[in-house]
């Protein structure tokens, strides 16, 4: 057996291509005769459409066509929902209002598409947008979450009785009992920030209809190639194999690129078939801010009941969740919030209620963290307020309530986004806390360093929080592994890669079984012409689900190679080994047959075969876990704040994380880095703001502050624990969202600590520089 290729930091196979300008992103794809689409978007947030006049736009030289909802005829229809309603939860209410590709009767958010222009160039298409005239009856904007359900609130979907989109209650034990028995009950209104995915590359889609072969070729930046292909097939009345949907290189995803049944995948293919021309649409940054999805906006009324010694008796959390104008992505985000409030704590009684509400804002779907960060934020803030109330050290209060390792696996009793009970499958939570506390020298800072700093009038604070990361949810993914006649290996799947390193990590998993150099393993991701089944890139599930499928398929291929080689080499299987691209007799290494030769032989061209024989040195496999794998960790921060300017320096950042087996530790650390950057952005820089009329006033990077290099700490200090997940053979858990989940809660704890005695009382997950400045001034009584 050759050396294992798992848990090694291989440099990435995809890098040289991407580093030299040889990537192939959506806007890099061109075809002769290609036409370009630009989308007319509404400036109104809420309005009834009276007339859309496109006549002048059509007259502009170079404009080929202009379409509104009316022009789509019967083809126009809303939906489908991308994620089904949560019927697994008893008593849940869900009013499905899937996306409309183009607004037909009513506009429900500023930025909603109302028409498309097709022209010979993108410049001309954009020119024409200004000559499309909207005649509308403006309606009152609905945006403030807690007012959406007022009896006099204007209705966003007028066939509903109210703006309630969903109502889901889950309870474990009895909150009433916990509150009655408690020494202390603390209640807070907690607000989570509204942020954008803000991938550096915007979205895009190209459709080319081959009228001879009746095949539609589509290139799309989607995170879910199969669901998007199926949605297009259903709209156009085509069989799945008439559509070949391919991911080009994708410039980051972070959630919003998961969406389908939007204007791009519904209308662009329709135009391509109608005009029989290649059609390209590439979103610009303003459109991405206005019309692509975003996340986080929730208002919680949260309570915690404790004994005087700090023991948690129960938590109650009733929260409003903003779903925007439609709810195509179901309950994924708020269900994640419900499961993540529990985090790693022992909470015997837990009542949680989601009130999902429609607003006249862009649609809300997952952004890295996806509901988890809100749950963690609420729980960690409650603990901080409780610690203050009880006069306990925040770390001590956490120590007291952590679930010990012997309690795992722990069934939480709360159903999550995958519609099965959330289970904390494995780990050592107290160890993660202690490792972080030791590394950041918590005791020393609190007892020795901080008193001196305070005496000098300096505002330096420390925070330590715990978090879980629900990852690797079902239902399933699959992959096929094939040894080619050259002896090189190819993996195909219909997942989606936006930079996670799958071209390398999936190759490592296959190499581990097949004894092939990872540079000789190519990976095709997101090509529905090559692999037909899958769900998509979300919930940090790629390496666990696709990786396990690749592992299982590779085991089968290895077995097939051994079977065949055993016959050809006249040697029992158990005396053979697979290494260095050959199958050889372990004791007589010169007696071998190459994998390429075996691949040739695996496709016999004459003679007969045994019954049940499957040709080719290839195998497919599917993997679906019974429930998600739960990663976890602990974050420590030391913040140094200048109270006069509200400039915050992250002096230290220590994170301990356990995502089970690291297939490639270098890539795991990279995922943690990127997540932390988004978490820092959410806590201190990024903030989507709508004005009183539903206009997004932060629709550019001039206004939406993107976290930059000098906003980061000098070093992300990462400590690892490795508790293999019992759910899959390689023991993997996801890691993509850890960093994004944990920062805001820790940030606020450290800020409050820096201004001890001022009682900042921070109940929101965004504390940008000017906001912090005002908080400090207010607390000072200035």
């Amino acid at each position: 057996m050759t050396e294992s290729t798992i848990s090694k930091s291989f440099k990435r196979n995809e890098d040289p291509r991407l580093l030299t300008g040889n990537g192939n992103y959506i806007d890099d794809i061109d075809f002769p005769g290609m036409l370009h689409v630009a989308i007319k978007r509404s400036d109104y947030a809420h309005a009834r459409i009276k007339k859309i006049d496109t006549e002048e736009a059509k007259k502009i030289p170079g404009v080929v066509a202009v379409y509104t909802a009316e022009d789509l005829g019967d083809y126009w229809r809303p939906g489908p929902l991308q994620v089904p309603p949560p019927t697994a939860i008893k008593g849940s209410v869900f009013h499905a209002r899937p996306l409309e590709c183009i607004a037909k009767h009513k506009i429900r958010f500023s930025g909603e598409p109302v028409a498309v222009v097709v022209a010979e160039s993108r410049y001309i298409a954009e020119d024409a947008l200004d000559f499309i005239y909207l005649d509308v009856e403006p309606l009152q904007y609905v945006g403030e979450l807690e007012k959406t359900l007022d009896p006099d609130a204007p209705l966003i979907h007028e066939d509903l009785e109210s703006n309630l989109a969903a109502d889901v209650v889950q309870e474990v034990g009895s909150w009433e009992k916990a509150a009655a028995e408690a020494d202390v009950v603390i209640k807070k209104r907690i607000v989570t920030n509204h942020v954008a995915g803000a991938a550096l590359e915007n979205r895009g889609l190209i459709a080319v209809w081959d009228d001879n072969f009746k095949i539609l070729n589509v290139w799309a930046t989607t995170q879910g190639p199969i669901p998007m292909r199926n949605s297009i097939a259903r709209y156009l009345g085509l069989m799945e194999n008439q559509i070949r949907l391919m991911n080009p290189d994708i410039g980051g995803g972070f959630g919003p690129k998961i969406m389908s049944s939007q204007i791009d995948d519904v209308v662009v293919p329709w135009i391509a078939m109608k005009l029989k021309k290649p059609i390209k649409w590439v979103e610009d940054r303003r459109e991405n801010f206005l019309g692509t999805t975003s996340e986080r906006d929730q208002v919680h009324y949260a309570e915690i009941a404790l004994k005087n010694d700090g023991t948690i008796l129960g938590v109650k959390d009733v929260f409003y969740h903003n779903t925007g104008a439609y709810n195509p992505y179901g309950m994924t985000i708020p269900l994640n919030t419900q499961t993540h409030v529990i985090s790693i704590y022992n909470i015997p009684n837990y009542y949680t209620q989601i009130k999902m509400v429609f607003t006249n804002q862009m649609v809300v779907t997952p952004v890295r963290g996806a509901g988890r960060s809100h749950g963690i934020f609420v729980m960690e803030r409650l603990l901080d307020f409780a610690a203050k109330e009880l006069g306990m050290d925040p770390v001590e209060l956490r120590r007291k309530n952590i679930l010990p390792p012997e309690k795992l696996p722990f069934r939480t009793g709360v159903i999550g986004q995958d519609f099965v009970e959330n289970v904390l499958d494995s780990g050592n939570y107290p160890l993660a806390l202690e490792k972080t506390v030791d590394a950041i020298e918590y005791e020393k800072f609190k007892k020795e360093i901080q008193p001196k700093l305070r005496a000098e009038g300096k505002n330096k604070g420390i925070g330590v929080i715990m978090f879980t990361e629900g990852t690797a949810v079902g239902p399933y993914e699959g992959a096929k592994v094939m040894v080619g006649v050259t002896g090189k290996v190819n993996i195909v799947c219909a997942y989606s890669n936006q930079g996670q390193g799958h071209y390398t990590t999936l190759a490592q998993i296959a190499a581990n079984q097949l004894g092939v150099d990872i540079k000789d393993i190519s990976v095709v991701i997101g090509d529905t012409g090559q692999w037909q089944w899958g769900v998509g890139a979300f919930a940090s599930r790629g390496i666990t689900l696709v990786g396990t499928a690749v592992h299982q398929a590779s085991v089968k291929v290895r077995e097939k190679a051994l079977e065949l080689a055993s016959k050809l080499l006249n040697t029992p299987k158990d005396e053979l080994e697979v290494a260095d691209g050959v199958v050889r007799v372990a004791d007589v290494p010169e007696h071998f047959i190459s994998l390429g030769e075996l691949a040739m032989r695996a496709n016999p061209t004459r003679g007969t075969v045994e019954e049940g024989m499957e040709p080719g040195l290839e195998a497919a496999s599917y993997y679906g876990p019974p429930h998600g794998a739960t990663g976890y960790g602990c974050l420590g921060l030391i913040l140094d704040i200048d109270p006069e300017t509200a400039k915050v320096k992250i002096e230290r950042l220590v994170i301990t994380d356990d995502c089970g087996t690291n297939i490639n530790p270098m890539i795991v650390d990279g995922q943690i880095h990127g997540g932390l950057q988004m978490g820092i952005g959410e806590a201190f820089y990024e903030n989507l703001v709508y004005d009183d009329y539903g206009q997004l006033v932060t629709a550019s990077f001039m206004d939406y502050l993107f976290p930059q290099a000098t906003d980061m700490p000098e070093k992300f200090e990462i400590k690892h624990l490795v508790t293999p997940s019992p759910l899959n053979p390689l023991g993997i858990k996801g890691i993509g969202e850890a960093g994004a989940i944990c920062v805001p809660a820790c940030f606020m704890q450290a800020l409050e600590d820096a201004f001890e005695g001022m009682d900042l009382d921070i109940t929101q997950s965004f504390m940008g520089p000017s906001k912090l400045f005002h908080y400090v001034q207010k607390a000072k009584g200035a």
């Binding site: 990537g23 410049y123 290189d249 980051g252 880095h673 950057q677 290099a709 000098e714």
Partner: protein, 159 residues
């Protein structure tokens, strides 16, 4: 249709004489007229830095310039650095330090860093961080990019 204007622009050592619309962005000229797709466009308003190229040796955002404004200039894009089989030391350093994930912002970082390293052959981590502060990356948290710039400096000194 607007009148086209003649321009003569040297890109990566090749002189291109073209008739372009005055409003054609330099980024679109490079990408779509010349087919050099390594230069990327992330925000179209000069903030993100993905479209950074060198104009007469100085880094600039190609999305906020018109092609006609650089008539007569010499432009360098990421394609001028190295090839897949023979990467520039800076590209090697990015590879070795895992300084890219999705790769979309990377050409902009490379063009910013290549100019910087010419005048600053031995930067501290703090200086390297400052140098790349104008380029946005959503994937990496920048730490590995800072390390890659420093590693590149060492590699280039050894060359």
């Amino acid at each position: 249709m607007t009148q086209k204007v003649k321009v003569a622009i040297t890109v990566n050592g090749t002189l291109y004489e073209r008739d372009v619309e005055p409003r054609l962005l330099l980024s679109d000229f490079i990408r779509h007229d010349l087919g050099l797709k390594g230069t990327h466009v992330g925000c179209e308003h000069g903030l993100c830095g993905a479209c950074t190229v060198l104009i007469d040796g100085h880094s600039a955002r190609s999305c906020t310039l018109f092609a006609v404004m650089v008539d007569g200039s010499e432009i360098k894009t990421v394609e001028s650095l190295g090839t897949i089989d023979n990467m520039h030391p800076l590209q090697e350093a990015f590879h070795e330090k895992h300084a890219l994930q999705c790769g979309f912002c990377t050409p902009g970082f490379l063009m910013t860093a290549v100019e910087y390293l010419e005048g600053n052959p031995n930067p501290t981590a703090e200086q390297a961080r400052e140098a790349i502060d104008g380029n946005f990356c959503r994937c990496t948290g920048y730490e590995n990019i800072v390390e890659a710039v420093q590693l590149a400096a060492k590699k280039m000194a050894a060359h």
